[in-house]
Point group: D2
Chain length 288, copies 4
């Protein structure tokens, strides 16, 4: 490419996420490079975790389309451990895993249908088949993979074989009620986003709404988080609560819980798809 | 008193709280009695816990001053197990227990000073003495009872000896950081109201804000509750949360936690002092 | 019907709403009648507006199916002006009016589809036709009645002619952007429920999100309300807000506004369909 | 000073606020300068208002004590219109204006007393004298300047004469109920921060809580804002709401309003005193 500089290319809006060990001059190095290339910074948020001595930055820029070149240039001015993520694409591709509950799935399907999700749903995979009907109404492929009559390894191999038919960036667990093995998570090799009912205080184990009811809580909550090897213990993306009271039965609490789960998963996905989330160890830095 | 009926007495506003086993006709029995006595019902909230088959009611009435007579009359028309509470007095008397943190205490002292607390603070007892100063500014007696150089029994005996010098209705633990023994709680024989930092998920043990920081939570909360033998496990009165994010250090989370602890304890005390809380087993019925 | 009393009929859960002028003994009269008929009160909430001297009550009962008889009996023991509403039916029938925005409609269609709305959507009427597609995905009739090339009277006559083909209980204005005339509202003769963007402070007139943006508000809100002759001035059912900040463009505020509008309309409809709302003058009493 | 560069000075944490017209390279210019001087950026938030073409940035740095030199250096690399604010001091000095309500004042006095306000209260000025008592409990000077028997000009001259006896950075109107003239605001020549009851929808004029009650609102709110010539119309700093319902009298709404006013003013002051607020035209940019 003759005379190829970044600035000679057509400008588009991009999000740049960078993290690395902190040292003096990182912002100067990044912003000097961008200025030299006539890339304008629309918004910038930087955070230094002084405990971990780690630098995080999110930039929205009017930038060029030659992303590999930009990444190389950034690598040249940043510490060797820098993780650089340049995101020009407007939408990600995702697969949704479900069990029986429709509330999170329906909300995602509506947003997907009206192009407000920030991602394209490629297919839905369910270990029950009752949600096939709503998917077909939106012309979204549904794969019914029952976990019955299979051991976990066979079941996960079936899942994997279906997932790998698609090229996607994220797996969304929209009230998917099976626990996935660490080896499966490793093989899929992309971020999993899960929605978890969680309470004040948190209830562990079966039937959390029954436990919340018996404890007489006044708030119930939900947490959207990345999935790591320890289910429900991955980095938290979003949390919110809804008030309840003594007049709520355990069933009423579950119903209220569904409202807040729907809202929190929608919020969590929005933050992720807008490239506002940086991961380090078991925590997130979120530039909202 | 010749011709003494309830209706012959001067009317004042009262709150009546009743709970008993549920059966058909309880509301009719209560309201017929009140109507007969020309006591007008200003507001009424009833709740039946159908799992426990238990009836709860709160009435605000324009009523008479002969409370013993009214209670006897109510007893006559209600099941034998009925707990009847008639509250004419505008304010309760309370003692506050503190350790070092001022935030909840200060808020209560201000409300007490301006007569908006709904209760009269009789004294403050601290196991440290740094809060003596703020109490003296409001002319509230402060008793410094250090837990040092004493075993738990001796310490609690000292506490008890001071508490029993006052005639009070409630003990408020306003960031009191000592665990009290079941036998002490039993001897004091009045409700204890505690404020507890609690999170999503809840962190147990020492330094919960450090744990919350390390887990990267997006909300922190607080819970006002009655104290039973299991500390932090008594019936919940009020809960609320405050959002936090990655830019909060553990110290910032503690600071935010203090704001929400102050607000939640104030709310819990208001509900209790306005006689809006009924207790049954380990849960509350709150007619807000 | 020989020996016909209410108590001889099969019991079902019912909601009873009553309002009338206040006087001593109303609760007694109602509850005595119910007790005599072996109708058990599951929950009861009563409110007296002491300024208006008006009595409001909501009862959930395990009751009989002979509603006309029950209403007659209640009428016999209540003041002449009493409005008595006994609601045995599990669901209402509704028509939805829309313009171009899909967010509130989609949420209602999903709830309707999964039978969690508490009402059955009979049809959707739009003055634009872009929402026909989503309705057809849920097999809900869509009537396109353009307001163009018609004067208001002609347009409203067209609307009326379509509405009267259905037997419904409520009209829901789910981001319907035409102002309806008082005479139309009167002719339709059923409650209208509207969702209104509203802010702190409120902005009147065209393009409220633009106004909110220019004012730099930190919260935007939404209000679900009944429609009276003065649009946006009818009795309020539900209100809620969502935080915004300087980084929000007017378009971002509109997007956030849609989220809160969806949630508030859903909440308002739930309160109405669960028979929790009593209307008096320009205000609501809501037993939540 | 021989060899005086910024980097030769002892490091302290500082907040730098800058705004100017936007152009490519501003972040690079600032951060390169800081890096050269060995000043480390702890956190940085930048915002470009693309409608106004205006650049805003807030930096927390470990910096030097030679602020004039740093400002000169920054001026050299920034556009001519740049407003540069470097804040090393841990606390500001403030005067509080009150009328009769104690709730906001008390909260500020407590925070001031325990050094958590982020500012030092120099004195309180009241146009009634009932709050003298609480000020004296905290050893804070109280100046009683009645507005009675004075015209507005005389009254404001009295105020001004008292204010100018102190060297302060901000005036806080903590439920001060007099409208101040534009010329007074101009003469005082420092930022005024006010707390305003505001509702959904907003009620203008006398007795807003009465209006809110009559409208049957379900939320009431409060707004902390800077005061400009148009009272209640200055740039908004913080807003929040509290839910109310039909059981609230106008007096109850006022009581709830006081709780939210207290919290919102505390939040607004915190944002201002932590140097998180940039002003441009009638809006704020707040790096929370």
């Amino acid at each position: 490419m003759v005379g190829s500089t970044l600035s000679s290319l057509k400008k588009t809006r991009m999000v740049i996420l960078i993290q690395c060990i902190d040292k003096v001059g990182l912002v100067a190095a990044i912003s000097t490079l961008l200025a030299k290339e006539q890339i304008n910074i629309i918004s910038m948020r930087e955070h230094v975790d002084t405990v971990e001595n780690r630098f995080f930055v999110r930039l929205v820029v009017n930038g060029c389309a030659n992303i590999p070149l930009l990444k190389t240039q950034l690598n040249n001015v940043l510490p060797a451990d820098a993780e650089i993520n340049v995101n020009p694409q407007p939408a990600k591709k995702i697969i949704i895993l479900v069990t029986k509950d429709h509330h999170c799935l329906s909300d995602i399907l509506i947003r997907n249908h009206f192009k407000t999700l920030g991602a394209d749903v490629q297919c839905v995979i369910g270990n029950h088949n009752n949600l096939q009907e709503i998917c077909s109404r939106f012309d979204i492929p549904f794969h019914f993979i029952s976990h019955e009559n299979m051991d976990k390894e066979m079941y996960e191999n079936e899942l994997l074989s279906t997932i790998t038919k698609y090229e996607v960036h994220y797996l969304v667990l929209a009230k998917f009620m099976r626990i996935l093995s660490p080896s499966f998570i490793e093989k899929v090799a992309m971020p999993f986003i899960n929605i978890h009912h969680s309470f004040l205080p948190a209830f562990i184990g079966a039937n959390p709404y029954r436990q919340a009811y018996e404890r007489g809580v006044k708030l119930i909550g939900a947490t959207a988080h990345f999935v790591t090897n320890q289910l429900d213990e991955g980095p938290i993306i979003a949390q919110q609560i809804i008030p309840v009271n003594h007049s709520f039965t355990a069933a009423d609490m579950m119903k209220a819980g569904k409202e807040i789960e729907t809202a929190v998963l929608a919020k969590g996905l929005q933050l992720v798809f807008e490239e506002r989330v940086l991961l380090f160890k078991n925590k997130t830095v979120i530039f909202e």
